[in-house]
């Protein structure tokens, strides 16, 4: 497998990302309004509960919103795959002197990497707001977030290639987004999920967003957020990354054969 060829595929996906400039601007506006309006006001509303749970809700929420942004931008790669199928770009890609596996692996890495590049400036703002108490913890957390971003890209590719219609993909992603974000600890601590409905807390334990957001908070030194060991968090994200990258690669590779995307 040629690393150089994978690099070309990754580069292409990074360049394609720029075409979503308005979507990216909108995501940025969403991020700012979530932090500066929703985060501030809800922080006031839940002040007492947050104090009881030993957290500063505003900091907790800002970290969570960063992970939601990373998740949603990593999902964009699925839209690219549908666009390519609709506009006949698949055929062009197959003519390139790149093996199927290199192409698929490159796309998965490109999808994760470009979302990380997008979130980079937001991450700097967030880290300025939250501060960093232990640089080593932060580095471990960022490594975990890399795995998370690649895993989400793999998941997006898996869903995109499993569906025939772009509309259905869009809708499924919308529903999945609604559930996966809300049933995680991105917006609220596990203790309150448990109190609200034990089944919500159980589901959240299998949710990669829970591990990504808790790991990021641990990395920035936000107190009282991690319910399990950070090592378990990294391991969970690695399993998520490995499963979906592998499944995504296999699915995408199979779909490329025989023109089944048409």
């Amino acid at each position: 497998m040629g690393l150089r060829k994978i690099r070309f595929v990754v580069e292409r996906d990074l360049r394609m990302f720029v075409q979503y400039k308005f979507m990216l601007i909108m995501r940025g506006i969403w991020f700012v309004s979530q932090v500066s309006l929703f985060g501030l006001v809800v922080g006031k509303m839940v002040e007492a509960a947050a104090r009881a749970a030993g957290i500063n809700y505003f900091q907790y929420y800002v970290a969570g919103v960063t992970i939601i942004t990373l998740y949603s931008t990593s999902m964009f790669i699925g839209y690219d795959i549908f666009e390519e199928a609709e506009h006949g770009v698949f055929e062009y890609l197959l003519t390139l002197p790149v093996s199927r596996r290199e192409l698929v692996l490159g796309r998965s890495i490109g999808g994760g990497l470009r979302s990380f590049i997008y979130v980079g400036p937001l991450l700097i703002i967030v880290l300025t707001l939250l501060g960093v108490s232990n640089p080593l913890h932060l580095l471990i957390a960022l490594a975990g977030l890399f795995l998370f971003a690649f895993g989400v890209s793999g998941m997006s590719i898996t869903i995109a290639v499993a569906m025939k219609s772009g509309d259905k993909y869009d809708i499924l992603i919308g529903v999945l987004d609604a559930l996966i974000v809300r049933l995680s600890t991105t917006m609220y601590p596990t203790i309150y999920l448990q109190e609200a409905m034990p089944s919500y807390a159980t589901i959240s334990q299998f949710n990669p967003l829970t591990y990504a957001s808790d790991l990021f908070r641990w990395g920035t030194g936000i107190e009282g957020t991690f319910q399990v060991s950070p090592l378990v968090g990294v391991l969970a994200l690695f399993i998520f990354f490995f499963s979906f990258t592998f499944i995504g690669v296999v699915f995408y590779e199979k779909r490329l054969e025989g023109g089944s995307w048409q």
Partner: protein
């Protein structure tokens, strides 16, 4: 009147073409209510019963999102020049414009109905005059939102610019209103120097629409005719702006 009804019917038929999109929207709204609101209820104990507080806000949220969808269609029509066909129809431009604004508003009402019924099931029934006032306020709100959406849609032929402008309007109207949190808590932002946002939240029609439902179903805040007046002014201003902008754009082409 008959011509306007035909245009409304046309928009209604188009609305059902997006049935999967609507299903996804409903799923998101219900997830907001039955997951997020349930968890926040635990976190706001002693301050507000968040689940009951948020339910009316959710109906207004759904109304906003669905009434806004007309803008997406009109922007697409402007880009693809479908208006040539619309201009060939035996009706005046004013009738067409009024029909589009009302059509967008009625679609919002249709989508919001199950969410409002969920409110009645969860929070109790209003009296008949209260119900009529709620429906009137929501209809005015829906027409105003449809007007905002159309005004933005005809202002640009770029879908991306429309989507970006829609995002700004969405987030400003959503987060700077009492849909998600009580006005008393928003007012604490004044201490942080965010007075303009607090003022906007106070006159935001989404604030007044959701607080009007709350006043009848929860008893708090107390009903004020100013709530209805605020929504009515918003509706009249933006319905007029949209009809004017839509007619001008059609004439320009």
């Amino acid at each position: 009147m008959k011509a306007i009804l035909h245009v409304i019917e046309y928009d209604f038929r188009n609305f059902f073409r997006y049935r999967w999109f609507i299903i996804a929207l409903i799923a998101m709204n219900l997830a907001d209510l039955f997951i997020s609101a349930v968890v926040f209820t635990q976190m706001t104990r002693g301050i507000v019963d968040y689940f009951r507080f948020f339910a009316p806000g959710l109906a207004v949220l759904g109304l906003f999102a669905s009434a806004f969808m007309i803008g997406r269609e009109i922007n697409m029509e402007v880009r693809r020049e479908v208006h040539h066909y619309l201009l060939s129809l035996p009706m005046s431009r004013t009738e067409l414009a009024i029909g589009r604004v009302l059509g967008g508003g009625f679609r919002g009402m249709l989508y919001m109905t199950p969410l409002l019924l969920t409110n009645f099931v969860l929070l109790g029934l209003p009296t008949l005059p209260q119900l009529l006032l709620i429906l009137l306020a929501l209809l005015l709100l829906a027409i105003g939102i449809s007007g905002v959406s159309i005004s933005i849609a005809v202002s640009t032929t770029s879908f991306e610019k429309f989507v970006t402008a829609r995002g700004v309007v969405y987030y400003l109207f959503f987060f700077c209103s009492s849909v998600f949190y009580p006005m008393a808590i928003i007012q604490t932002l004044e201490a942080r120097g965010l007075t303009p946002l607090v003022r906007f939240a106070q006159i935001n029609p989404l604030t007044n629409g959701s607080d009007l439902i709350r006043s009848f179903l929860l008893g708090s805040p107390s009903f004020s005719p100013l709530m209805l007046l605020d929504v009515a002014v918003f509706s009249v201003v933006f319905a007029f702006c949209a009809a004017f902008a839509y007619t001008k754009i059609l004439m320009r082409h």
